[in-house]
């Protein structure tokens, strides 16, 4: 989960919401999915709250250094 990008998390959330709407999914699975979804929302929100643009500078030879 933690190595998911924001967009992947959004995609997963949309999948989960779609799956929850299907009655063929057993309720226990639905509850598990819902838990996963709320956790994703929590992590994404934290990511947004903590986010500071990561900027680096490309140096000769293809190495990246942090931009100050």
């Amino acid at each position: 989960m933690t190595d998911m990008t924001f967009e992947q998390a959004m995609k997963r959330l949309s999948e989960i919401s779609n799956a929850l709407e299907s009655d063929s999914l057993p309720l226990s699975d639905a509850i598990e999915l819902y838990k996963e979804g709320t956790e994703l929302v929590r992590v994404c929100r934290k990511e947004l709250d903590d986010a500071k643009l990561q900027v680096s500078v490309l140096e000769e030879g293809g190495t990246e250094r942090k931009y100050e």
């Binding site: 959330l13 949309s14 709407e21 994404c44 500071k52 643009l53 680096s56 931009y67």
Partner: protein, 403 residues
């Protein structure tokens, strides 16, 4: 001595030889117009171009002449751009001009026009070669000077709109002698760093400052860049060939950042919408489960043993009532018949006969008396309704039954 040629053979060879020399293509020639004449209605313009020491024939065919913005005249100093071609039939050499600009300030412009035409014919500016920008870039490359205001403008906008994005700056000189190769290198190296989009930016500057972005090498580097690239060079009014070659053109570096990271993809709003959808889906699911549960409960209750018990109880009560009423009516019936029997019995009672004036005769032991059981002298008891008489038999006679 070489082999003997016909004139035709010589001219064919000369034509072939001259056409092979790339330096004679797109050549820019400075000179003064002389002997100008129009092509007698054909739309072509014929003239000679001369300087102090030499002269060359020149022609501008109608397709090029139509695009001329100035009217050519004898004595005009111009910069002509065109190909040298050899006309075999007359053995004459001429400069086929594609564009003409007044000399002086116009030189650069004419060269630029010629370059633009050349690149355009190669498809460098074609819309069909333009790559679409990604809807939501994760990694954004920026080719610009580390010290410019352009960089700060871009970083501010990306940071505000999409704080989870990563930015990779590929630093370059944007002015001076090394600008062209520096920019080309910077584009080339950032192109292979897995960026989703690249911004090529330079703040405003003089025409000379911006001229690097008209250099063929940079224009080609922009065109050949595999990553979608947004060009933002100078201000609104300045447009360079790099801008035309880029996949998108932005008027300013800020606008380039806005194009790269669209506002509609505001991540916070997106997250909020996703959260709402999630909660809604779960709520819908839960309420449908509740509904299912209560209908199951209802069904279950209808099969419950308690319900069967209640039904038995009801049956029992009904049976008891039926039995009670049956018994009751039987008793009533029996009581009625008893009463009738009693009355009938009463009517048959011997006492009732006595009341009518008859008497009962018995022996001393209360046994009824017949002729055979009594003798003369036997004691008998005569019983009427009100008296009991004790008597002795004096005579016994048989009679025939009448009174």
């Amino acid at each position: 001595m070489a082999s003997i040629l016909t004139v035709s053979q010589l001219n064919t060879y000369l034509s072939f030889y001259l056409s092979r020399d790339a330096k004679l293509k797109n050549v820019a020639v400075m000179g003064e117009i002389t002997n100008l004449r129009d092509g007698y209605g054909s739309g072509h313009i014929y003239f000679k171009l001369k300087d102090d020491g030499a002269l060359i024939s020149a022609v501008m065919f109608r397709s090029s002449a139509e695009k001329l913005k100035l009217r050519l005249a004898d004595g005009m100093s111009i910069l002509a751009i065109g190909d040298v071609s050899y006309y075999e039939e007359t053995g004459s050499l001429q400069l086929v001009c594609k564009s003409v600009a007044p000399q002086g300030a116009g030189i650069g412009k004419a060269k630029l026009e010629a370059l633009k035409e050349k690149l355009s014919s190669e498809g460098v500016f074609d819309v069909k070669n333009k790559k679409p920008l990604p809807p939501m870039p994760r990694k954004i490359g920026i080719v610009t000077s580390l010290n410019g205001a352009a960089l700060q403008d871009i970083l501010n906008i990306i940071g505000r709109r999409c704080p989870t994005a990563r930015v990779l700056i590929s630093p370059s000189y944007v002015q001076g002698a090394n600008a062209v190769s520096s920019i080309c290198d910077a584009i080339g190296s950032v192109d292979s760093m897995g960026c989703d989009v690249i911004i090529l930016a330079r703040g405003g500057g003089s025409a000379e400052d911006l001229s690097a972005f008209n250099d063929e090498r940079i224009v080609r580097a922009v065109f050949n860049c595999k990553t979608p690239i947004i060009s933002a060079v100078g201000h609104q009014t300045d447009t360079t060939l790099s801008d035309y070659a880029a996949d998108r053109r932005a008027a300013t570096p800020s606008e380039a950042a806005e194009l790269a990271v669209p506002q509609v993809k505001n991540q916070r709003a997106e997250l909020l919408a996703a959260e709402k959808a999630l909660n809604w889906a779960m709520r819908v699911r839960l309420s449908s489960e509740k509904l299912r549960l209560s209908s199951a409960e209802l069904r279950l209750r209808s099969f419950s043993p308690l319900r069967k018990f209640r039904r038995d109880e009801e049956n029992l009560t009904a049976s008891a009532a039926r039995i009670y009423s049956a018994v009751r009516s039987r008793i009533d019936r029996e009581c009625g018949s008893l009463l009738a029997s009693e009355r009938r019995l009463e009517a048959l009672s011997p006492l009732a006969v006595l009341k009518r004036g008859y008497a009962v005769v018995t022996d001393e032991n209360g046994r009824s008396v017949s002729g055979e059981s009594v003798n003369v002298g036997s004691r008998i008891i005569i019983r009427s309704a009100e008296y009991e008489l004790t008597a002795n038999v004096e005579k016994v006679d048989r009679h025939d039954g009448g009174l």
